[in-house]
């Protein structure tokens, strides 16, 4: 009985370690994709960056960073509808992140200024650009 218990504990431990490894591998992969995409974005290779961030979202659909970065890439490519949707998702996932809010706010200001979307929601006054 004691031997059986010990085997069970070892098996549980092994399972935990393996799941941890799998999780860590996913995290590393996401990290790597994100880093690569950022480098691509810095080199103005926005389509490549979009592809990578979409891959990140494929692995982790709740990754707010990827949605924010994807929003930036879409905006750079001139696809404002997709950019707004991505920023919106990022701020939904992490409402207190000032960078997501700042990007989203600037995107909406740009849309309003350029008159692309007259029905764009009004900006909240409390979103001060504290990071500038």
């Amino acid at each position: 009985m004691l031997k059986y218990n010990r085997l069970a504990s070892i098996a549980i431990l092994a399972c935990l370690i393996l799941s941890g490894c799998a999780l860590s591998r996913d995290t590393n992969q996401i990290e790597a994709y994100n880093q690569f995409a950022i480098r691509a974005a810095q080199a103005q290779l926005w389509n490549e960056a979009v592809f990578r961030w979409k891959q990140v979202i494929g692995v982790d659909p709740e990754n707010s960073k990827a949605y924010n970065n994807l929003g930036v890439a879409y905006e750079a490519l001139g696809d404002t509808d997709e950019a707004v949707a991505a920023y919106q998702r990022a701020t939904e996932l992490e409402p207190d992140n000032k960078y997501y809010r700042l990007n989203y706010r600037r995107c909406r200001i740009h849309i309003r200024r350029s008159g692309v979307d007259e029905d764009a929601p009004q900006l909240e006054e409390d979103e001060s650009p504290s990071t500038e």
């Binding site: 950022i38 810095q42 970065n69 750079a76 001139g78 992140n97 740009h110 200024r113």
Partner: protein
């Protein structure tokens, strides 16, 4: 206790460094729309700019300066795919016998008639005022004194001459006879003179300075009325 304090400071510093590197700033191109209705105002005639003769401190310039500024504006607008502009030769031909003066700027009816003659939607007219302002300045620096064997404070007096151009640009809607754009653009440039070069500059020709300032003012106007791209910062999160 001292050790604990050191560790806390180190941790806080590391935390800040961590926060700083979590974000990358990138510049993205954003499209800025024209400030006028480019669907409506797609073709223009640019009339020679007139000197504001009755304004205070307006320096006397050769009469062709106004036409030179207008020619720069025509070239700038012609490069934009949204606009068609009546070229300089055609404008000169159609304006043969006309004496363009300051009084034209307020006569929108006449300008509108001219616009119909040119077969355009909008007429661009304007005026300019050019003047200079000279002030004595003192430049402080250091020079090496052989006597004292060290650097000593020294100064040099000079004349700073600032050239200023105020360019007024108007767009008149040919159909409605209304002024749809009326903006002033101020540009300046400064140069340092010794007493000798200052006297020479007072007598020398200034048309090139006006043309250069006019080119800068006109490019600002062209940028405002043409759709263009600007760079804006966004944040990528690592």
């Amino acid at each position: 206790m001292q050790m604990l304090k050191k560790i806390t400071i180190l941790l806080v510093t590391l935390m800040f460094f961590g926060c700083g590197s979590a974000v990358t700033r990138v510049s993205i191109p954003v499209k800025v729309q024209s400030e006028i209705d480019i669907g409506r105002y797609s073709n223009f005639a640019v009339l020679p700019f007139v000197s504001e003769r009755h304004a205070e401190r307006n320096e006397e310039l050769p009469p062709e300066v106004g036409e030179d500024i207008a020619a720069v504006l025509r070239r700038g607008l012609a490069r934009q795919k949204s606009f068609e502009v009546v070229n300089s030769q055609e404008t000169a031909r159609l304006l043969t016998g006309e004496d363009i003066g300051e009084e034209w700027l307020s006569d929108t009816k006449h300008l509108s008639q001219l616009g119909e003659y040119f077969e355009v939607k909008g007429i661009i007219v304007g005026s300019f005022r050019f003047y200079s302002d000279s002030r004595p300045r003192r430049y402080y620096g250091e020079r090496y004194s052989i006597q004292r064997q060290r650097y000593v404070m020294d100064y040099q007096d000079y004349m700073q001459k600032t050239y200023l151009l105020a360019l007024r640009v108007m767009i008149i809607d040919v159909e409605t006879e209304k002024i749809v754009w009326d903006e002033s653009y101020r540009r300046s440039t400064a140069e340092a003179h010794t007493i000798g070069s200052f006297i020479f500059s007072q007598a020398g020709p200034q048309a090139n300075t006006v043309r250069e300032l006019g080119r800068r003012a006109v490019s600002e106007f062209t940028r405002q009325i043409s759709p263009h791209y600007e760079q804006e910062d966004r944040y990528l999160v690592k």
